[in-house]
């Protein structure tokens, strides 16, 4: 069985490569197709370490639909931006119809764990698919409630935190248990967030103050998205960099999973990579300075147990004393599922058997 995994972002390509590797352990042959080419300055390596053997191709969606490759797929995993799913699925099924061929099942879902309005907004355009791939119990329940009393609810499956490696790479994890000095705080920043006027400049100023108050720490600002050349996270290129303390710096590209495995603490407003820091046992602060707000992505973190105000931190050593993530919440967000590839393989197998003609 050949499964095509389509990805239109660096994060999706990275996640699909990990998933392909896991599915290969189930005896399923996968091909990762990166449909968006040439994204520079990605925070992620092109291929997760050690997975160079997973086959990857670069095609645009249009080229893929016109190639014979897609007609040989037994299943298609479309991990594309939600807005691209409808046109792709429609195009694929029409082309199959023209070829007199039954379309293979299409499965899809958000790459990162979502919750509440952001999950619903992401899922609705994917309802044209044959299977929805979610992360944990919470998302399964939300999808079930969304489709309550619908005549044809779309089947769902939980894959867990498939977007990230299950554990840091060998030798990457240092200071397990209580992190040991020298300490590094990784600050995960997001595109356009926080979005209140002046809030990004305030966040940078506060980080500078905290770094100054804790000279034995290094504060590493790591964007969780690709930035154009010359741009810095939190619009720092527009600020007076002389005012920033020497122990505050900006992370290099392609380094994100590595530094999450090695940091002493992690901070973010609502970056999904903070789930990785939580799952790997790092002390975490989810910035609650702006409260629980839907449009800043903080609403799903309400139950995390690691929210707090950045401005309330006296110094960075306080981070080491903070409560760890609410484990029940983290498991329901997806960390409770560790056999996602098996679940997916079973779901695809069941769909294939349902489609097969009766003997």
């Amino acid at each position: 069985m050949t499964i095509l995994l389509l990805a239109d972002s660096n994060a999706a390509t990275y996640a699909c490569t990990l998933l392909a590797n896991e599915l290969s352990h189930q005896g399923l042959e996968c091909l990762v197709v990166a449909t968006q080419i040439g994204i520079e300055n990605s925070p992620l390596p092109a291929i997760p370490p050690g997975l160079g053997r997973v086959p990857q191709l670069q095609f645009s969606l249009k080229e893929l639909l016109l190639s014979s490759l897609i007609h040989r797929a037994k299943a298609v995993g479309a991990f594309l931006h939600a807005s691209k799913i409808g046109p792709f699925v429609q195009g694929y099924r029409q082309i199959c119809q023209l070829h007199g061929q039954s379309p293979a099942p299409v499965f899809s879902g958000p790459v990162f764990p979502l919750g509440g309005d952001t999950l619903i907004a992401d899922l609705l355009p994917r309802l044209c698919c044959d299977l929805l791939c979610l992360h944990g119990q919470r998302q399964l329940e939300e999808a079930r409630d969304l489709m309550h009393r619908w005549p044809d609810p779309v089947p769902t499956v939980a894959l867990g935190f498939w977007f990230m490696p299950e554990a840091p790479e060998d030798g990457g994890l240092v200071g397990a248990g209580t992190p040991q000095p020298p300490h590094t705080l990784v600050v995960l920043t997001q595109a356009g967030l926080p979005n209140l006027p002046g809030a990004r400049a305030r966040m940078l100023r506060l980080l500078g103050e905290k770094a100054s108050a804790s000279p034995h720490w290094r504060v590493l600002i790591q964007p969780d998205h690709s930035l154009p050349t010359g741009r810095l996270p939190l619009d720092a290129e527009t600020s007076d960099k002389k005012k920033l303390p020497p122990n505050l710096s900006f992370a290099a590209a392609a380094n994100l999973p590595l530094i999450l495995g090695r940091c002493s603490a992690c901070l973010s407003l609502s970056s999904p990579w903070i789930f990785t820091a939580m799952a790997w046992g790092r002390p975490v602060l989810v910035m609650g300075d702006h409260g629980i707000t839907t449009n800043q992505g903080s609403a799903p973190f309400f139950g995390s147990g690691v929210m707090g105000r950045l401005d309330a931190l006296a110094d960075l050593d306080e981070l080491l004393e903070r409560p760890r993530a609410n484990w029940g919440w983290l498991e329901r967000m997806g960390w409770g599922v560790h056999d996602g590839a098996t679940q997916l393989a079973c779901a695809l197998q069941a769909m294939a058997e349902a489609e097969a003609p009766l003997p």
Partner: protein
């Protein structure tokens, strides 16, 4: 159904507080108690420019009617004589009221409850974060209860008391249900001011309705605007629907008209009610009018249509042959879906009166209010409302409402007595001399959030 609290009991004193028209309609829906229920209702409609007169009149008809500003209300000497206070305001004000009452002296406090105005289409978690800590949060039905349980699971707030009071907004005693065969061939379209939101979509909506009216010459299609052009509602809108019709259609078909009469009046005689995602769908059921959901904009979160997708009555209007054929094939909404949303006998406001009585009976042993100060958790109601008090004070200062500003700052000072700038601002606005006040305001920086 559970019998109403006996009229022989001392009547419960209930205060309902709302500001915009939607919030006042929520108060009205909740006040739909059986006539034999022993309850005296007071409604405080916070003055707000543009609130429809009809909505205010209906609120006036519920019992004693006040129109006090929020700060005045919170200092009203009779506030604590109420057995329960229902607060139907926007998030930050909800938190301000809860904190203000919590800080009032005295051991006997009214039960504080809050709720939602109609079907919750989005923003539920943020809304709950403003409502946490109330003695009781009223929800519509099992759908909202499931979402709340999911949000609070494994957190220190899982014990937050909730009650499902339903989506039925019209009392059976006041709704006249005309038999279907006596109803006029009329479809009422319940317009929503921001759904759909984009001007092009709103124009398309009007075009589709006009074409349907043309294909159904024996029917009247009445568009019921949410508000008249000079009125205001909870949401801010751009172009009024009357203008959209004029811009899109020029001269609409003769059987397509705007109708500003109250919705209940229209529903009593109409055969069909159409909407994209308005709570009016449930009002139609109260009046025996068959509802249909206009699904032409797809299942998109921005329109709230996904919430109605399980109703079984979603139709694409641009592909309907005509309204006769729609009326023939259209079923009533799915019963399981109605129950899930909170419409039906299981979820009724009467349960609120019972909850208030139970609360009174165990008042001496009632648990302490939910503690919102928990390490690792951010609750808007607790963490942001001090700022909201200060912002409210600044707004009042901008409007030169000195006593109003003083009231807000006094509340803020109660929360943070050590806060020096709040103290300075309060001293400033309490100055009677114009020059001294101005000078003190200059010397105490304004709060910008």
């Amino acid at each position: 159904m559970t019998p109403a609290p006996a009229a022989t009991n001392t009547p419960l004193e209930l205060l309902l507080v709302g500001d915009s028209d939607s919030q006042l309609l929520a108060c009205e829906a909740l006040a739909r108690f059986p006539t034999e229920a022993a309850v005296n209702i007071t409604v405080n409609a916070i003055p707000r420019e543009g609130t429809p007169t009809a909505v205010l009149e209906r609120a006036r008809g519920l019992g004693t009617f006040w129109q006090l500003e929020l700060a005045q209300l919170l200092r009203h000497p009779s506030l604590l004589r109420f057995d329960a206070i229902g607060v139907f305001l926007t998030g930050s004000k909800l938190a301000d009221v809860r904190q203000a009452i919590l800080l009032m002296p005295g051991s006997r406090k009214p039960l504080l409850f809050c709720g939602f105005n109609g079907v919750v289409l989005q923003g539920f978690e943020e809304a709950i974060s403003w409502r946490l800590g109330y003695d009781l949060i009223c929800l519509n039905g099992p759908r909202d209860a499931a979402a709340l349980k999911r949000m609070l699971a494994d957190t220190p707030f899982a014990a937050q008391p909730v009650l499902t009071t339903g989506l039925q907004r019209n009392s059976p005693s006041t709704t006249r249900q005309m038999p279907a065969e006596q109803r006029r061939p009329r479809l009422v379209f319940a317009e929503q001011v921001v759904i759909p939101a984009m001007p092009q979509e709103r124009q398309r909506m009007v075009r589709i309705l006009a074409e349907l009216a043309r294909r159904s010459p024996d029917w009247e299609v009445l568009i019921k605007p949410r508000v008249a052009p000079h009125e205001a509602t909870f949401h801010r809108s751009g172009t009024h629907i009357s203008q959209t019709i004029q811009d899109t259609l020029g001269h609409p078909p003769a059987n397509l008209q705007l109708d500003y009469r109250p919705l209940p009046e229209l529903l009593q005689e109409a055969r069909l009610l159409a909407t994209v995602s308005s709570t009016a769908l449930f009002d139609a059921l109260d009046y025996g009018c068959k509802p249909v959901v206009m699904a032409d904009f797809g299942i998109l979160p921005g329109t709230g249509s996904h919430v109605f997708a399980g109703s079984g009555v979603c139709r694409h209007f641009d592909s309907l042959a005509d309204l006769d054929s729609l009326e023939t094939e259209l079923p009533w909404p799915d019963r399981g879906w109605l129950e899930w949303m909170g419409y039906g006998q299981t979820h009724q406001p009467l349960q609120l009166l019972e909850a208030i009585q139970r609360w009174q009976q165990r008042h001496d042993t009632a648990p302490e209010p939910l503690d919102l100060e928990r390490p690792g958790y951010v609750v808007n109601a607790h963490n942001l409302s001090f700022n909201q008090l200060r912002l409210s004070a600044e707004r009042a200062i901008q409007a030169r409402q000195w006593s109003e500003a003083a009231a807000w700052l006094e509340l803020a000072q109660l929360l943070r007595p050590e806060h020096r700038n709040v103290k300075r601002r309060l001293t400033a606005v309490q100055c009677s001399g114009r020059l001294a006040r101005r000078l003190r305001l200059i010397l105490s920086p304004g709060f910008k959030g």
